[in-house]
């Protein structure tokens, strides 16, 4: 389960491990047979998945159309570069704003719904955005997408940092991921974080202890959409383009699978694990067979059958089992000594 006992540290041990891996990746990626661009993709999707898990894992709201806000962010960033020559940081802020506005509007319709009705409406709205991305050809480039959005430099006034190399861009994305992680970590341990978990556990009781449940749902959905927009903007920078595929039902389903297989329902870190598993499966299995997605699907099914709480849940059970076994050995040892 997601709740932690006692005071949450500003920076946890798991977080330090995550940051260490994140920030050292370019140094050992080559030696491990990996590459910088893979790291960029993984970190962008980690940002996206952590934001998405605020909605799915913490609030228990299943969105199967979240690719829409990811895509809106990607297009938002692209349009900001094409028409406003916005630059890197303002472009990302506009991508976030685009994700916020799109998800905020949709959330007005969703926040009074729950269960299957909520889920189906997320799909419907997701399809609307996907359809618009294809049909508004003049704005979005239609099925071809929005192309040639070249990576700008980060302009600090006195000096600029070029993002043309994947190495530099990786560190820009990693720093954003560190910030997003720290903010979300604080948020889920705040009164608001407890309130969203209360809504997941029991909406009726949450209302009867005074929480305006529809407002909480609206806020979480919008916040999650804003983070998806930010991640979408970063994907645009990485790909130097935006495509409608990112908004498809298939793409929206992938983020759900990543969060579930990682264990987003039981751990803050579940989405991180899920994203890494997906991309390693894509690259490692993909180097062996074109049908890698079939094998990933089978892996997903196996995990859901034998460890429904994902890898994080399975890990938690394993740790608990080892602890029980050790305690048992201590007791047995004590008994023998007696």
């Amino acid at each position: 389960m997601l709740t932690t006992k006692g005071k949450a540290p500003i920076v946890s041990r798991q977080m330090l491990v995550f940051f260490a891996i994140l920030l050292s990746y370019p140094l050992w990626a080559d030696a491990a047979g990996l590459y910088e661009y893979l790291g960029i993709e993984i970190v962008i999707f980690i940002i996206y998945a952590l934001g998405f898990n605020l909605l799915l894992g913490y609030t228990g709201l299943p969105s199967f159309g979240h690719g829409a806000y990811f895509g809106v962010g990607a297009y938002g960033y692209g349009l900001a570069q094409l028409y406003l020559d916005a630059g890197f940081i303002p472009g990302l802020l506009l991508a976030m704003l685009a994700g916020t506005v799109a998800s905020g509007l949709v959330a007005l319709f969703l926040s009074h719904r729950r269960g299957i009705y909520f889920a189906l409406m997320t799909i419907a709205f997701g399809q609307v955005f996907w359809f618009l991305a294809i049909k508004l050809r003049g704005l979005t480039g239609g099925e071809d997408g929005l192309l040639n959005i070249f990576r700008p430099d980060i302009d600090f006034g006195l000096f600029q940092i070029s993002l043309k190399s994947n190495f530099a861009f990786y560190y820009a994305v990693a720093l954003i991921a560190v910030l997003v992680t720290l903010l979300l970590w604080r948020l889920v341990h705040s009164p608001f974080g407890m309130a969203i978990q209360a809504v997941r556990m029991n909406e009726t009781r949450a209302r009867f202890v005074g929480y305006q449940v529809w407002w909480i749902k609206w806020t979480v959905f919008t916040l999650s959409g804003a983070i998806a927009g930010l991640a979408g903007g970063l994907l645009n920078v990485a790909q130097e383009s935006a495509f409608p595929d990112t908004m498809s039902l298939h793409a929206s389903g992938l983020i759900v699978m990543m969060v579930l297989i990682g264990g987003g329902f039981v751990s803050f870190w579940g989405p991180v694990v899920g994203v890494i598993v997906y991309y390693l499966a894509r690259d490692l299995l993909g180097s062996i067979t074109e049908a890698w997605l079939l094998w990933y699907g089978l892996l997903f099914m196996a995990v859901m059958m034998f460890s429904p709480e994902g890898f994080a849940g399975g890990w938690g059970k394993l740790v608990a089992w080892v602890r029980r076994r050790k305690q048992g050995e201590v007791l047995m040892g004590g008994a023998q000594n007696d």
Partner: protein, 253 residues
């Protein structure tokens, strides 16, 4: 010396679901510091009455006043802010939270709301101290760190009441609090409610008539969506309808 007005008043309440009239011209009043009871057979409209009084349902007619203020049709979250709280017949707890967290999440809502986005609630000594007091009030000291889902049925019943007390209410509605409890559990609960009377105004829906007759100062009997009798336990025991009904038989057991 003039008598102080009732703390909670419901006037001419009507509620219907489709063609079915569930509540018809219900008038109720509860005095501050009292224990009031609502009884009636299954399907009489007791729970609907509670749901209308506590904001779950909006009445089709009539008014509800709390401390002189019209609270008719307010949503539950607004009702709670006014100082009205309730427990449920089917327990509504935050199962993955500990007992202490169940209380903290409620107490924080009424004390601070959600205005501290980067505040660690679990590290808030003011709120955790208050929450521990509430748990002590219902006899759950020592179980602060037990998950709600791991607690026994009786402990969960007590926690259900504790959560409703955690919002710092002035009046508490308890919906069939003895549901599923054995004789010992009922006796403990009766003692608990007796102690709560010193701090809260209580209104109880109950099937266990002996339980209600022992505790309540005044009882209203609902049947077919109407109040058919009202009075002290002694007055109701003498009431002809109550004596001849199944409810009356239960009181003589």
């Amino acid at each position: 010396m003039t008598e102080s007005p009732p703390l909670f008043v419901a006037e001419h309440l009507h509620k219907r679901f489709g063609d079915q009239v569930v509540l018809e011209d219900i008038n109720l009043s509860f005095n501050a510091g009292s224990i009031s009871g609502i009884m009636g057979p299954n399907g009489a409209g007791k729970s609907t009455c509670f749901n209308v009084l506590t904001g779950m349902y909006r009445p089709d007619g009539g008014s509800v006043f709390f401390d002189g203020e019209d609270v008719t049709g307010l949503a539950p979250e607004r009702i709670v802010e006014k100082g009205i709280s309730r427990s449920f017949q089917i327990m509504n707890l935050f199962d993955e939270f500990t007992a202490l967290e169940n209380i903290m999440v409620a107490t924080n809502r009424v004390r601070h709301g959600l205005h501290r986005p980067f505040w660690d609630l679990r590290a808030d000594s003011e709120i955790s101290h208050k929450a521990a007091e509430v748990l002590a009030m219902v006899g759950l000291t020592g179980l602060e760190n037990s998950l709600a889902s791991d607690m026994s049925y009786g402990q969960r019943r007590a926690l259900e009441i504790a959560v409703s007390l955690a919002t710092e209410p002035r009046i508490v509605f308890l919906d069939e609090p003895t549901q599923g409890l054995g004789a010992d559990g009922r006796a403990n609960l009766a003692d608990l409610i007796g102690t709560l009377q010193e701090k809260f105004t209580l209104v109880i829906i109950e099937h266990d008539m002996q339980f209600l007759f022992r505790l309540a100062n005044r009882i209203s009997v609902i049947h077919w969506g109407q109040i058919i009798a009202e009075g002290t336990p002694d007055e109701l025991k003498a009431n002809e309808w109550v004596r001849t009904s199944e409810l009356g038989k239960m009181t003589t057991c």
